[in-house]
C-alpha cells in the first residue's frame, strides 16, 4: 500500500489549492447525466460525465465538479452561422507546392446531433495531404480558433523551426494569426498533423489530418486494389451535448479523456465497399486523446506491413492491431468472400467495481464485400510475406548498439494532490491491480476531477533526478542514444504511456528484457504500466525537440521534456 501512503503525504502538501468545488444542492448545472437523468440544456456547464449505469456513484462525489471553468468552442456564437463541415479532401502536392490551412469553427453532425467543433479548412478530418518522399511543401496556416496554437507535423523529421511547438520552436500563433511552415518529408510513410497546445481540446474536437508520403521505390508496398486512410478517434457526448473541457487546465488528467462515441475519420460509422478478392491497404492512425484501440476486420486475414516511420523488417500475419494514441500502422487485408466484415475494436474492459474483466466490442464500421470478383487479383502478392531488405540493411547499422547499457533512464511517475477524499479512497482500493493498458474508463466520475491543478505526470531522469522540463539532455547529430523508459508500477496511479519523440526516429529494441525480433522505425512507442522499454534513438536532426507522453491530458499536466541535438 505504498501508493496509499504517497497519496496521503501528497495530499497534505498541496491541499491548499486545486480543491474541487462542491456544487450546492439543487443547482441544475451539476447532473450525473445518463446515469441519474439529465437536467439543464446549456452544454457548457459541468455535470457528471456519462458513465456505465452499472457503476454506482461513489458517495461524496455526487455534486462535485472540477475546479476549472467549463469550456466548449464557439460559446456565444450562433451555431447557424458556423459552416457545416465537409468530409476531408485529398490534396496531392509536389515538391515546392503550397497549401493554405485554416483552423476554425465548424458545425458537425454526429449520430443526428449537431455540435460546434473545430476543423481544418472546414473539413473532418483535416485535408489528406499526399506528397512524395523528399518533397518540401509550404503550409500557410491561419489560426481561427480561440486558443493560441501551433501545428505539429507528427513523426516528420523536418527543420526544427517548423516543428510547431509553442515557445520552443516558434512563438504561438495567436487567434487570428498566421504562420508559414515549410515541411520537408525525409521519409516515406504515414504521418499526421495536429495542434501542439491544448490538444486535449482542439485535437479532440477535430483538428487533425493525415500526411501520406509516397516512397521513391515503386516496389515499396505490395500491389493492392485500394488504399484507405483510417483515423481512429472518440468523443465524449452526453444527453446535453459535448461534454465540457477545463478552460484553465485539462480535466480527466488521470486516465485521459475517453470518449463514449467512437469515430472513424470523424464519423461514428465507417463504410467501405469492395469486391470479393480485393486486397485493401489500410493506413491506421490513432488520433484519440487516450484510447488504445484493438482493431480487427471481421476475421479477414491481416498482414502487418509498416508503422510510424517505415516498413517492418519482415511482414507478419496478425490477428488484430493494438494501436496507441499517435501511433500508425500499415496493414493489408484480404476480403476473400462476399459479405459484411465488421471493423471492430475488441478489448477486455475492466469493471473495477466488480473486479471483473468484461469482453467488449465496438463496431467501428462495416466493409461490404460484393459478390462481384475483383478486377485484378493480388492474392499471390498478399500470400507472400516479404522481407524488407532495405529496412533490414539500414537497421543492421544499429544492431551493435542493441545490447549495450542504456545512456539514459527515464522513470514515468505521477504526483497526486488535492483530489476529493472519496476519490482517494477509491484509488487506494484500486491499487490492488492496474492492467498493462487501460482500454476503457469505467470510472469517469472519478477521472474528471483529476486536473492540472491536482495531478502532475512526471518523466524523471534517473541520473540527475531532474523532472520534465528541467531535464537537460544534449546530443550531437550522429549520436545513437539508448533511452530506457521505466513505467513505475508503484506510482500513485500507474498507467500506460505512448511516448513520442519529436524530430527523430527510434527503434524499440527491448521490452522487459526481451529483445525485439521484428523492428521498424518509430516515433511513438507504447510503454505499458510496469514495463521497461529500451528505445534506440538515431539523433539525425538538429534542434530543440520535445519528448512527451501522447495522452493529451498527460502532456498538459506536465509529462514532457526537451532535448537538444546540436548539428
Amino acid at each position: 500500500m505504498a501508493s496509499l501512503v504517497a497519496v496521503g503525504a501528497t495530499l497534505g502538501v498541496v491541499a491548499a489549492h486545486g480543491q474541487p468545488t462542491v456544487q450546492s444542492a439543487g443547482d441544475s448545472s451539476v447532473d450525473h447525466s445518463m446515469h441519474h437523468g439529465s437536467a439543464g440544456t446549456d452544454p457548457a456547464r459541468w455535470r457528471m460525465p456519462p458513465m456505465s449505469p452499472n457503476m454506482p456513484m461513489p458517495p461524496g462525489l455526487e455534486g462535485m465538479i472540477p475546479p476549472q471553468t467549463p469550456f466548449l468552442p464557439g460559446i456565444g456564437t450562433d451555431p447557424a452561422t458556423v459552416p457545416d463541415a465537409v468530409f476531408r479532401e485529398v490534396v496531392e502536392l509536389r515538391d515546392g507546392d503550397s497549401i493554405d490551412l485554416e483552423a476554425g469553427l465548424v458545425r458537425r453532425t454526429i449520430n443526428g446531433r449537431t455540435f460546434v467543433m473545430y476543423g481544418f479548412n472546414g473539413q473532418y478530418p483535416g485535408p489528406l495531404i499526399k506528397a512524395p518522399e523528399g518533397a518540401t511543401i509550404t503550409v500557410n496556416f491561419r489560426n481561427g480558433t480561440e486558443f493560441p496554437t501551433a501545428l505539429h507535423w507528427h513523426g516528420v523529421r523536418l527543420d526544427n523551426r517548423f516543428d510547431g511547438v509553442p515557445h520552443l520552436t516558434q512563438e504561438p500563433v495567436l487567434p487570428g494569426g498566421t504562420f508559414e511552415y515549410r515541411v520537408f518529408f525525409r521519409d516515406a510513410g504515414i504521418y499526421w498533423y495536429h495542434p501542439h497546445h491544448r490538444e486535449d481540446i482542439t485535437q479532440d474536437l477535430g483538428l487533425y489530418g493525415n500526411l501520406l508520403i509516397s516512397s521513391r521505390d515503386a516496389d515499396y508496398y505490395s500491389p493492392v486494389n485500394t488504399e484507405e486512410l483510417v483515423m481512429l478517434d472518440d468523443i465524449l457526448i452526453d444527453d446535453v451535448g459535448l461534454f465540457p473541457y477545463g478552460q484553465e487546465d485539462a480535466t480527466q488528467a488521470l486516465m485521459g479523456r475517453f470518449g463514449n462515441v467512437l469515430l472513424v475519420n470523424g464519423e461514428p460509422q465507417y463504410e467501405l465497399e469492395v469486391r470479393r478478392g480485393d486486397v485493401v491497404r489500410f493506413y491506421l492512425t490513432n488520433v484519440s486523446n487516450t484510447r488504445i484501440f484493438n482493431v480487427s476486420f471481421g476475421g479477414a486475414p491481416i498482414k502487418l506491413v509498416g508503422s510510424d516511420v517505415g516498413l517492418f523488417e519482415k511482414e507478419v500475419w496478425v490477428e488484430s492491431v493494438p494501436i496507441a494514441p499517435a501511433e500508425r500502422y500499415v496493414v493489408e487485408v484480404l476480403f476473400e468472400t462476399a459479405g459484411d466484415f465488421v471493423l471492430s475494436n475488441r478489448i477486455q474492459a475492466i469493471d473495477h467495481f466488480r473486479a471483473e474483466f468484461v469482453a467488449h466490442e465496438d463496431t467501428l464500421g462495416v466493409i461490404s464485400v460484393s459478390a462481384e470478383p475483383t478486377e485484378t487479383s493480388h492474392r499471390d502478392a498478399f500470400d507472400r510475406l516479404r522481407l524488407n531488405t532495405a529496412a533490414i540493411e539500414e537497421i543492421d547499422g544499429f544492431r551493435r548498439h542493441f545490447t549495450r547499457a542504456p545512456d539514459h533512464q527515464l522513470t514515468l511517475d505521477v504526483e497526486i494532490g488535492a483530489l476529493p477524499l472519496p476519490l482517494l479512497q477509491m484509488m487506494a482500493v484500486d491499487t490492488l491491480y492496474y492492467p498493462p493498458v487501460e482500454w476503457n474508463d469505467v470510472m469517469p466520475e472519478m477521472n474528471y476531477h483529476a486536473t492540472g491543478a491536482n495531478v502532475r505526470w512526471i518523466m524523471r531522469d534517473e541520473a540527475t533526478g531532474r523532472e520534465n522540463m528541467d531535464i537537460d539532455w544534449r546530443f550531437r547529430v550522429g549520436d545513437v542514444v539508448k533511452i530506457r523508459v521505466v513505467n513505475d508500477p508503484s506510482s500513485a496511479h500507474p498507467m500506460h504511456h505512448p511516448m513520442h519523440l519529436h524530430g527523430q526516429r527510434f527503434l524499440v529494441v527491448e521490452r522487459d528484457g526481451v529483445e525485439a525480433t521484428n523492428l521498424v522505425w518509430k516515433d511513438t512507442a507504447l510503454v505499458p504500466q510496469g514495463s521497461t522499454v529500451d528505445l534506440l534513438v538515431e539523433m539525425s536532426n538538429p534542434g530543440s525537440w520535445m519528448m512527451h507522453c501522447h495522452i493529451a491530458e498527460h502532456l498538459e499536466t506536465g509529462m514532457s521534456a526537451v532535448f537538444e541535438v546540436e548539428g
Partner: protein, 189 residues
C-alpha cells in the same frame, strides 16, 4: 461438492504459512496434501505471502504445505509481438509465463507439472513439466489466473490428480469487488 471445487477451496484457503487452514477438514489435507506430514515450516513460506504487489507481472508462489525449502515464483512477460502490447483479437493479453521453483520434493517416479487456471477453475491449462532446474515456460491468455505445481505420476494428463505443492495468483486476481468497502459500504454488489 465436486473435486474441482474442493481444490479451489484449498487454493484459496491454504495459509501463506503453510499451516492447514482450520476452516478445512483434516481429511481434505490427508487426501490432497500427502506431503504435509513430513514437512517442516520454513522461513521462506512465511516471508513470501501473497499481497498487493507493486509488480503487476510477478506471481509469488507459496508452498501449500510445510515443506523445507520449497519456493517458487512466476513472472509474466508479453509474448513476442510487433506491437507495443501483445493481445489477441479479443483483447486478451498474450503472456509468456516463466515459473522457477526450488526445493520441491521429488520422490522416484514423480513429475512436477505446472498448471494455469482461471480462479473459478472453469479453464485449466497444463503449462508444462518442471525441468531438472525446476523451471517451466509456457504461454497464457487468462486475465486472472492461478498458477500451481502438482506432483504427478504421469505427465500425460489434462487435469491434475496429485497434490498441489506450490500455488500463486496473478495480481489481477487480487482485485476485489468494491461493494461493501470504503465509499461503497452498504451498496449492493
Amino acid at each position: 461438492m465436486t473435486w474441482h471445487v474442493l481444490m479451489a477451496g484449498v487454493l484459496v484457503l491454504a495459509s501463506p504459512t503453510g499451516d492447514p487452514d482450520p476452516r478445512l477438514p483434516s481429511w481434505l489435507f490427508d487426501r490432497v496434501l500427502p506431503f504435509s506430514r513430513s514437512i517442516e515450516k520454513t522461513a521462506a513460506c512465511v516471508e513470501s505471502p501473497v499481497r498487493a504487489t507493486a509488480d503487476p507481472y510477478a506471481l509469488p508462489m507459496m508452498a501449500t504445505v510445510q515443506h523445507g525449502g520449497a519456493y517458487g515464483s512466476a513472472r509474466l512477460t508479453f509474448g513476442d509481438s510487433p506491437f507495443g502490447v501483445t493481445v489477441n483479437a479479443a483483447g486478451n493479453h498474450l503472456y509468456d509465463l516463466r515459473v522457477e521453483t526450488s526445493g520441491l520434493p521429488k520422490p522416484p517416479g514423480v513429475e512436477h507439472i505446472v498448471w494455469v487456471a482461471t480462479p473459478d477453475l472453469d479453464q485449466v491449462t497444463k503449462l508444462g513439466v518442471l525441468d531438472d532446474e525446476g523451471r517451466a515456460l509456457g504461454q497464457v491468455t487468462y486475465n486472472k489466473m492461478l498458477v500451481f505445481v502438482t506432483a504427478e505420476r504421469s505427465t500425460d494428463l489434462d487435469r491434475w490428480s496429485g497434490p498441489i505443492l506450490l500455488r500463486g495468483i496473478s495480481a489481477s486476481g487480487l482485485m476485489h469487488t468494491m461493494a461493501g468497502h470504503g465509499p461503497f459500504l452498504g451498496m449492493p454488489c
